[in-house]
């Protein structure tokens, strides 16, 4: 495997290999010397067509801990506006000798487009493409669940995970649905019907409109961010009504199983999809997700650049 574009492209063995490697990376990160020489002399470009400080610095930290040279390239706008086109930007970076491009883009499929073009020969890592996928987020989510509920090894068989909120526009949800299924977990999507994608009934998930009914069943709940712009597009009547039915508040906290986890990919809208009590409760692993993000991204960079997984997922 040369690129990481979608969790749907991962085999069971590959996914587990990434999680196992991330565990090693985490161990190193906790040690006195946080740096590995593995990617010394390699150039990794953070190519961000969309603002995302969190994801960018997470990848940057991961690359630097592996001793890679990191270039940050923020390209505002896209070829649709007056900005430089994806093609020209990619070719420019190629000319500068990029070994890997970490791409964040507002257009779904941008990473796949880049990977299948001749615009770059390096590895392409999808750091979020439109409303399509965000594979490293799903990997760090799986890593976090596995650590807390499976002792840090094996898959997620027997666990039930609810993904709550704006499924329709969520790349995090799409990547998680593929990966959680691959690892054997049950997925329940919870949202008002307007935010469930058309055809989702054919996805390998259960769908519910009732958060209160679902919460007692789950081992982890992932709360998705509700974008401000959805308010004006008739997806739900008001922010208050949304919070009333789908917000994770202290009353709903009580419905959850004792050891269940509260997760959020960030940034949170406190008071909208999640209240402060929930976000800061003992069950919340939201900050740990951030920490794990670095380990998982180190694993991905290491596996893609230091060695390549062969057919059948035998990662080196």
């Amino acid at each position: 495997m040369r690129h990481l574009l979608s969790t749907a492209d991962l085999s069971y063995a590959q996914a587990n290999k990434i999680l196992d490697t991330a565990k090693e990376m985490a161990r190193i990160s906790e040690g006195p010397v946080k740096k590995l020489p593995t990617l010394r002399g390699r150039t990794i470009v953070n190519l961000f067509f969309e603002d995302s400080t969190r994801t960018r610095i997470s990848f940057e930290a991961a690359a630097k801990r592996l001793s890679a040279d990191v270039i940050n390239f923020s390209a505002k706008g896209s070829s649709a506006s007056k900005g430089e086109s994806l093609k020209d930007t990619a070719q420019t970076l190629q000319a500068m000798g990029a070994d890997a491009v970490i791409l964040r883009h507002s257009a779904s499929g941008a990473a796949q487009r880049l990977a299948s073009s001749h615009w770059t020969t390096g590895s392409v890592i999808n750091a979020g493409d439109g409303t399509h996928e965000h594979p490293t987020q799903a990997l760090l989510d799986a890593f976090t669940i596995r650590k807390h509920l499976r002792g840090g090894t094996g898959d997620l068989r027997g666990l039930t995970v609810a993904i709550v909120g704006d499924i329709l526009h969520s790349r995090v949800a799409r990547s998680n649905i593929h990966l959680l299924n691959l690892l054997g977990a049950q997925v329940i999507l919870v949202a008002p019907p307007t935010l469930i994608p058309l055809g989702a009934e054919k996805w390998p998930v259960q769908i519910s409109y009732d958060l209160d009914a679902v919460l007692p069943l789950v081992d982890a709940v992932m709360m998705l961010r509700v974008q401000q712009e959805r308010m004006n597009d008739f997806f739900f009547p008001t922010a208050r009504e949304y919070s009333h039915y789908y917000g994770l508040n202290s009353d709903r906290l009580k419905l959850m199983k004792p050891n269940s986890l509260i997760m959020h990919p960030g940034p949170m809208n406190r008071g909208l999809e999640i209240t402060a009590e929930s976000a800061d409760s003992a069950r919340s692993v939201i900050l740990e997700q951030v920490t794990n993000g670095v380990s998982v991204r180190m694993a991905v960079l290491y596996l893609l650049l230091a060695g390549a997984p062969n057919e059948g997922g035998d990662l080196i």
Binding site: S78, S79, A80, S85, L86, K87, H105, S106, A107, S108, G109, A110, Q112, R113, S116, D129, G130, T131, H132, E133, L168, R171, R174, P197, L198, G199, A200, K202, W203
Partner: protein, 437 residues
Amino acid sequence: MTDYLIDGGVLAHGKNVQVLISDGRIVEIDRIVSSPNAVNAVRVDARNCLILPGFVDLHTHLREPGREDSETVESGSRAAAKGGFTAVSAMANTFPVADTAGVVEQVYALGQAAGLCDVFPIGAVTQGLAGQALAELGAMADSKARVRIFSDDGNCVFDPIVMRRALEYVKKFNGVIAQHAQDPQLTKDAQMNEGFLSSRLGMKGWPSVAEESIIARDVLLADHVKSRLHVCHVTTSGGVDIIRWAKARGIQVSAEVTPHHLLLTEDLATSYDPMYKVNPPLRTQKDVMALREGLADGTIDVVATDHAPHSAESKECEWQAAAFGMLGLETAFSIVQATMIDTKMMTWSDLADRMSTAPALIGGYSDHGQSLRVGSRAHIAIVNPTRGWQVDRDLVASRSKNTPYHGMEFSGSVVATFFRGVPTVLDSKLVRSNNGN
């Protein structure tokens, strides 16, 4: 003028004939022509070929004036000739928009100057395609271009009162409103057919209902004011059903389907390659089958290409940023043969009707779509259903290369095209000299 003898071909209904062409007309058509002029005529070998009336396209984007970098009337005419077309209808969404007599006359004149096929301009329904105020439909109808088809194609005439008035107004000169049926509210930022696949790919959906609700409204309006409606590029099985229902009620509605909607499905979007990005979008296999059935049973009257040339840079980008549209003129026949004849859903006579007779009738192009007999204008397409070819985007006659068929093989091809009795294409190649140029 040189005389031509088409030798060895068969007509759509199967009769083996020789066709003698003189002075732009068919002067004799028989198993063996008897005229002594045949001896000196240039012989065109049509063995294993069908001799069909020249194809007529009701939906062609020629981009001139304004986007001559992607196509001109001349280059589009060459693509048309290669595709067996003798008449095309130039869509109004140029820069400036073809919403005045001046612009349509310019486009018409450019077509005559190119001399490879008739270019009949389509006039805009509303000024600037903005959907607000009617363009000067009467002036365009009375102009030298004699416009009869009006369309805001690319945009839907969404305001029902504007649509109603347009339908009424064109009755004065037996015009027709060709509607691009797309509810703009339901398709804001839409990228591809809405369904399971768009949800998986994370692309904004273009739901079937956005097309069908406009078709339903417009057939009812056409019925109400007793005028003619033409539905551009139908793509959904539901749309076919509504048109079938309207025709059964006696409503004056005609409809077209594009070759790409007869052949391709939304699954191609999985590649995120914008070569497959088109408006209206590629739909499902179920829709494709319904469109083929609709074309076969006559619910859909014509095949129209929606030939939409685009510069390289407007496709060499991420899907969302790319332009909608694909080339169509040079591949139309081969695709209709593959999807309708080779599947035994239509006869060759049906194909001649859907690609020539019916569109000429809808557009009022009386010089075209004539049955091949003595005295008819010699607008002729000669096709070989067993001469296969492979599409090569570097060999297209169009100025643009945005064909989704690059590398695809088809079993039948256009061998020769006659426009006003003069070959524009022979042996599948453009004839250089025409009209003395």
